[in-house]
């Protein structure tokens, strides 16, 4: 919550263009809720994108887009970091993005890893028919989770989250995939997050899902609904090959 100054505050508007299955949109939702911000939520049909979305994100034509006082922002991790900067947490509460430059670089490294390694492999799982390509995607996803499990074990973390006692950038980057777990495991017919192999990550998952902001954000994408969605998505993706 912001401290109030003597100046009157300029009214701010926030509008989020989002699609409920999108883990990228859920990241932004988590950040908005953590900062206790008021925002308008606009659901986009990704098969029939609104003109407003297309004009707000002409380069990628993707969600999420956060419109802050009529100015659009795109790319989920960029939006999350923007939110943290514009609405900074009081100094007693860890910011989403670490204040220390080295810690900040490390957090950004791992957030980047979620996108470029884990998400990339997950996308391959979604797009590949059963066979060698899918097996490789599964192997790569399992490899990523093993890395995260080790990270949780080795880092002298100040708490249960990658961000310590408070949810941080890496937690926000990774948490929405928990909605997709059931879908990944069903499509690939495998156990992706296994307590035996990744005990620390399983514990992290329990802790992060207990966070009220994460719980609320992820509630837009219940597991069964995501699975239905991915089946449709997959049949379209495989149909195009």
């Amino acid at each position: 919550m912001e401290t109030t100054g003597e100046m009157s505050e300029v009214p701010q508007t926030l509008k989020l263009l989002s699609a409920w299955p999108s883990m990228f949109c859920m990241r932004v939702l988590i950040a908005l809720k953590l900062k206790r911000l008021d925002y308008e939520y606009q659901e986009e049909d990704l098969l029939n994108k609104s003109q407003f979305l297309l004009s707000s994100n002409p380069v990628h034509k993707k969600v999420p887009v956060l419109i802050h006082n009529d100015k659009p922002l795109c790319e989920s991790l960029i939006i999350v970091q923007y939110i943290d900067e514009v609405w900074p947490s009081p100094p007693t509460r860890s910011p989403i993005v670490p204040a220390d430059p080295y810690d900040r670089a490390i957090a950004r490294f791992w957030a980047d890893y979620v996108d470029n390694k884990f998400h990339e492999a997950a996308a391959r799982l979604m797009r590949s028919p059963e066979g060698e390509l899918q097996e490789q995607a599964k192997k790569d996803m399992l490899g990523c989770l093993a890395v995260f499990d080790e990270l949780l074990r080795d880092l002298s973390l100040k708490g249960p989250f990658f961000g310590g006692q408070h949810i941080g950038l890496v937690d926000i980057a990774l948490a929405p995939y928990l909605c997709w777990l059931h879908a990944f495991e069903t499509i690939g017919a495998f156990k992706l997050l296994d307590e035996g192999r990744c005990p620390h990550l399983c514990k992290w998952a329990n802790d992060v899902l207990e966070n009220p902001c994460v719980k609320e954000a992820l509630a837009i994408a219940p597991a069964y609904k995501v699975l239905e969605f991915t089946k449709v998505y997959r049949s379209m993706a495989l149909g195009h090959e």
């Binding site: 919550m1 109030t4 505050e9 701010q12 008021d38 708490g159 006692q165 408070h166 207990e210």
Partner: protein, 220 residues
């Protein structure tokens, strides 16, 4: 629509009051900014007419949230937890929540009140200053023995696992009191370890007596 609410939160507090310390920790943990209003208990400021209008009990802490007044540290903690559920001071599991409450209530009902200033003054009047110190030490140690045993199966970095909870917020001020009354913390290695970890967390550091605007060192 507004994206920030103009919330005015005030806290009436005394730097050395362990009850105020609990609430300062919770406010810092939840990232709630507030105006600090010092009430010097050593100077009897809690008995002023002005303060009695705020709180007829003449105690600190008192939270004033946009005009709404609530006193009693536990009532304030529960209010803050309900109004600002993130980050939570409780685990999600109902059994763990019950144990957190058990620890909290043990300290706020069965340890701290027995070594409260008013009680100690009476003991000193009845039995002298040596007995005053022994009395405080006895009730703190008695409580700590039981806590040490309970938390053996629950503690990680914090009282309950690795996640900060209300138990930690209430324990560390009590450990401060223990040090003040020269309780030997070596007798309670688990509580000592937990306290050592908790007091380094940034939101606990910000809440410490020595960081408050009204800090003066305690008389030895």
């Amino acid at each position: 629509m507004a994206t920030s609410n103009k919330e005015i939160v005030k806290l009436y507090s005394f730097c050395h009051s362990s009850c105020s310390f609990r609430v300062r920790i919770a406010l810092a943990y939840k990232g709630i900014s507030y105006e600090y209003i010092a009430i010097n208990l050593s100077q009897g400021e809690q008995f002023s007419d002005d303060f009695k209008k705020i709180n007829a009990f003449s105690t600190v802490p008192v939270l004033v949230d946009n005009g709404f007044i609530v006193s009693d540290s536990l009532a304030i903690l529960e209010y803050l937890e309900e109004k600002y559920p993130e980050p939570s001071l409780f685990p999600a599991d109902s059994k763990k929540r019950a144990l957190v409450r058990q620890v909290v209530n043990n300290i706020v009902s069965s340890i701290q009140p027995l070594q409260n200033l008013n009680v100690l003054k009476k003991i000193e009047a009845l039995a002298g200053s040596d007995e005053r110190l022994k009395w405080a030490q006895y009730f703190i140690e008695n409580g700590f023995i039981a806590l040490e045993a309970l938390l053996t199966t629950e503690a990680g970095k914090c009282c309950f696992g690795d996640k900060f909870s209300m138990a930690d917020a209430v324990l560390i001020p009590q450990v401060y009191n223990a040090r003040r009354f020269k309780v030997d913390m070596e007798k309670f290695p688990l509580l000592k370890r937990i306290a050592g970890f908790i007091e380094e967390l940034p939101f606990v550091q910000a809440a410490k007596p020595e960081k408050q605007p009204d800090f003066v060192p305690l008389r030895p």
